[in-house]
Symmetry: C2
Subunit: 125 residues, 2 copies
DNA sequence: AATAACGCTAACTTTTATGTTAGTACTTCT
DNA sequence: AGAAGTACTAACATAAAAGTTAGCGTTATT
């Protein structure tokens, strides 16, 4: 008997983002999603509560922040720690795995910030 | 007379992706867009023609590939070179600027490929 | 006594992203 | 002669992402 394989196209393949059905594609999408990137960067700077994150990341809605956090938590990048008090107190932080990706993501973001002036579509005269 | 400023919130600020109106946000979105990431990685490997790119990147439609290439070209990351022959021959490559971002982006993608097994949402037992 | 803060979720709407189909004009392959 | 390849674009349709509003129960603040 063979080991169960997810989809035929993946049989015997190493993970490759160029292959549409490869799970790495989905993880990549979570990480590079509009708010995913920013959440990872924010948490890299410091552990934060839900509302602190919301204030830190300009323009996120509560809904999107909650959703993004859940996705990243499911991927094992973000850790959620809730204290059973009232009013609620919940802290979000990066897992060791999360710190690794966050490093890559923030490298990219900081490169863009630092090189904005070299980008034609942005450069004003 | 003062120098023209884009938006009030940006006056006197260094580029910061956490600020919703900062142009770095938009560039970040282009680069981390679903197909933007993959185009940059593909072109990092080699210069390619439109249809070669399309075959290389699993799942892109012609429309999305064309649109993504135009956006990245406007940002100065991708260079388009067309030969006036028939049938048409168009080559896409990375600009020096593009190679820099592509480096960051492929670091991220390759990290994900290499660490897929550590990611709970993917890991099978 | 009314308000804001906390961390959400559900239901609904809008916007954006992405896909589909068809068409272009010419050439090479079958 | 008919089909396929080339690099696209326009128009249209759909799906996915994101936003909006309202509400939960309790507490501290005003």
């Amino acid at each position: 008997m063979s080991i169960q394989a997810p989809i035929e196209a993946l049989r015997g393949h190493e993970p490759d983002v160029m292959i549409a059905a490869c799970p790495s594609r989905q993880v990549l999408n979570h990480v590079t999603s509009r708010w995913g990137v920013l959440v990872l960067i924010a948490l890299q700077e410091q552990t934060m509560r839900f509302s602190a994150l919301r204030r830190h990341i300009g323009g996120v809605s509560e809904r999107m922040l909650a959703q993004t956090l859940q996705t990243l938590e499911a991927d094992g990048f973000v850790q959620r720690r809730a204290y059973e008090v009232v009013p609620p107190h919940v802290e979000y932080s990066l897992s060791p795995l999360g710190e690794e990706v966050a490093g890559k993501v923030s490298d990219l973001a900081h490169w863009i910030e630092a090189n904005l002036g070299r980008i034609p579509s942005v450069a004003k005269d």
